[in-house]
């Protein structure tokens, strides 16, 4: 019964709200050969598209999780339903995470097919970067109740990484390009903390 209801939620969300985001994310990946060479890259060169470009799909997929109910009147209607809205958002977020991981996985496999030296580390590193960028967008969009604020926050964090570089320490997004993988666990931790902290913080900011 519950699983049937969840399946309906996922199907309905994908069909009505998220298909466009999946298409945009796919478009971003398919456009990458315009910018980058994907064949015969060593592990450092291969990290360039996987850290600078591919993680942008995290912003596209994870930031708009709260978008369908951004309008206050729609949100009020949704809140009156029996099914908890937070659970719906968590399901959406998980869907986005899975889709992002699958897309990045397929991209890494394609690079492998093109004789680039990519490993599971590249997959994890690229995914971690995508998840943190996405989680920043998701958190700001949720707390600010406006998806534009989410996009703004994640894009700005991305820009800061160009300007500040390694000064960002554990939260530097492009560490694999400099041969370091240690930062990735911090990115994953940061993404997890941000994603889970959103729901109570949303309530706090709403009540104020």
């Amino acid at each position: 019964m519950v699983s049937g209801c969840l399946a309906r939620v996922v199907y309905s969300d994908v069909k009505h709200n998220f298909l466009i985001h999946y298409i945009v994310a796919l478009g971003i990946l398919l456009a990458s050969p315009i910018f980058f060479s994907l064949s015969q890259l060593d592990c450092i060169l291969a990290a360039q598209p996987l850290e600078v470009y591919v993680p942008l799909i995290g912003i596209v997929l994870m930031t708009p999780v709260f978008l369908p109910e951004q309008n206050e009147s729609i949100y009020d209607v949704v809140r009156s339903k029996k099914f908890n809205h937070d659970i719906v958002c968590i399901i959406r977020l998980l869907c986005s995470v899975v889709i992002a991981a699958v897309m990045i996985g397929a991209y890494v496999l394609y690079m492998k097919h093109c004789n680039s030296q990519v490993t599971v580390r590249h997959f994890i590193g690229s995914s971690a970067t995508a998840f943190l960028l996405g989680a920043i967008g998701f958190a700001f969009a949720g707390i600010g109740r406006n998806v534009i604020i989410g996009y703004m926050a994640s894009v700005m964090y991305y820009i800061l990484n160009f300007s500040f570089g390694t000064k960002l320490g554990y939260f530097y997004l492009f560490s694999m390009m400099h041969g370091s993988f240690a930062e990735k666990k911090w990115l994953l931790t940061g993404a997890f903390v941000l994603s889970t902290a959103v729901f109570p913080l949303r309530r706090v900011f709403r009540d104020r």
Binding site: Q48, I148, Y151, M156
Partner: protein
């Protein structure tokens, strides 16, 4: 004026504008003020490196470009940066034959002559990615006596096209790529003196200010513009605004001017702070009191206008998300192209993010002054045209004949009609 004040008030109270101000403050302080933190002192004699300068010597350009092209031709590995990112291009036999034909034309050698050069050159084996290749150290390719610089640039344009663009042989980059020479102590002193005599200090700092602030001002305004434009629809106020007597031209243009004005305020404040800092630091020098306002305004205003106009237009037609995506793609390509161009005064006719990341090198910047003026005016005109187009869209929406292209909800392009 009343409408303008109302729009400004709405913008000042919006969260996106507060975030915009915080981010502009963060970027300008962390980039410009840290980089320009100390007083400039004259170069000292006996330094190891004084940097490089561009001499614009056609013979030097042809000679070094012919060497570079031959080296890459012999390895069949051409390094390109089409959007600022590394791309190794390998050509097929037909394209290689074309390149060989061009090398023969430039150098006056034939295929045998090139083969002999290859034979006599030292080879060093380099690992590029997963691929090992031999690079031939060729430094003395001759230049045919009949070769003119005009014909040479035609050939280089063709070579760049064969390589798919973004190569070192792009015509507008030849001077920057192939006619750099190390600066002597005297050159470094001249460069230092020109900051005080020609730039009168503030012009040099104004260029650096424009360079750093231009990066963020080419993207951030789109968020504020998209949020304000989408706010009417989000708060279900669109119909109420549509029914007002004010013309669409007045509403949209007032909103545009309010956005540009409010977003320019933090930039202007930093111009004042930067000028005060220069006045304190260079007390007693001959300082141009207006340059810190005129040059950055001319440099940065088109960026704010273009990003704002894109935000308004695409939000009216599609959605705020689409506007952000469009502006991000434009910004990303502009930033990467600017990085490849070398961050120092190489400004094309359509360069969106102009870069000149140095206090000195005045001559390099002035070499492209015409391009700079053209492109700044071009982006201002384009922005106003985009706002006029937005007025048209807004008018159609008011008349009920167009409701934007909806991606979600009722009437969306992804919802199946029953």
């Amino acid at each position: 004026m009343m409408l303008f004040r109302k729009e400004c008030g709405k913008i000042f109270c919006s969260l996106t504008y507060i975030l915009y101000c915080l981010l502009v403050i963060l970027m300008i302080i962390s980039q410009y003020f840290i980089d320009s933190g100390q007083r400039l002192y004259p170069p000292s004699k006996g330094d190891y490196d004084y940097g490089e300068k561009i001499v614009e010597d056609h013979d030097l350009i042809m000679s070094t470009a012919a060497d570079a092209l031959t080296v890459e031709f012999l390895s069949n590995r051409y390094v390109c940066y089409p959007f600022g990112f590394y791309k190794a291009v390998h050509l097929d036999n037909e394209e290689q034959a074309k390149i060989e034909k061009y090398i023969c034309e430039i150098t006056g050698l034939d295929s045998t002559g090139i083969a002999e050069k290859k034979k006599s050159a030292e080879v060093c084996y380099i690992t590029d990615g997963t691929h090992d290749y031999g690079e031939y150290a060729i430094r003395d390719m001759p230049i045919s006596e009949s070769m003119t610089y005009e014909r040479f640039t035609d050939i280089m344009e063709d070579v760049d096209n064969i390589l798919g663009g973004g190569s070192d042989y792009a015509v507008d980059g030849l001077v920057y790529q192939f006619s750099r020479v190390p600066m002597t102590y005297e050159d470094a002193v001249d460069d230092y003196n020109s900051i005080f005599n020609d730039d009168r200090v503030t012009n040099a700092y104004a260029r650096l200010f424009g360079d750093y602030a231009g990066i963020v001002l080419a993207i951030l305004p789109v968020f504020v513009a998209a949020a304000l434009t989408a706010a009417d629809r989000r708060r279900r106020m669109s119909e109420l605004v549509y029914s007002r007597r004010s013309s669409s031209l007045r509403i949209v243009f007032t909103r545009f001017i309010a956005l540009v004005t409010t977003m320019f305020i933090p930039v202007f404040v930093f111009m004042v702070i930067a000028l005060i800092q220069i006045l304190i630091r260079y007390n007693g020098s001959d300082i141009d009191m207006t340059a810190m306002f005129t040059l950055p305004t001319f440099w940065l205003l088109p960026n704010i206008m273009a990003a704002t106009a894109t935000g308004m237009l695409v939000t009216e037609i599609l959605s705020a998300g689409a506007a952000i995506l469009v502006q991000f793609v434009w910004w990303f390509m502009g930033l990467m192209a600017g990085g490849t161009a070398g961050l120092s005064g190489r400004i094309g006719k359509f360069t969106f993010i102009c870069r000149h990341n140095a206090l000195g090198n005045r001559n390099e910047f002035l070499m492209n002054w015409d391009n700079f003026v053209f492109n700044r005016v071009f982006y201002m005109v384009i922005s106003i045209a985009a706002v006029l187009f937005t007025v048209g869209i807004y008018e159609l929406k008011r008349g009920g004949s167009f409701n934007g292209i909806r991606l979600f909800g009722k009437g969306s392009i992804f919802r199946r009609k029953t």
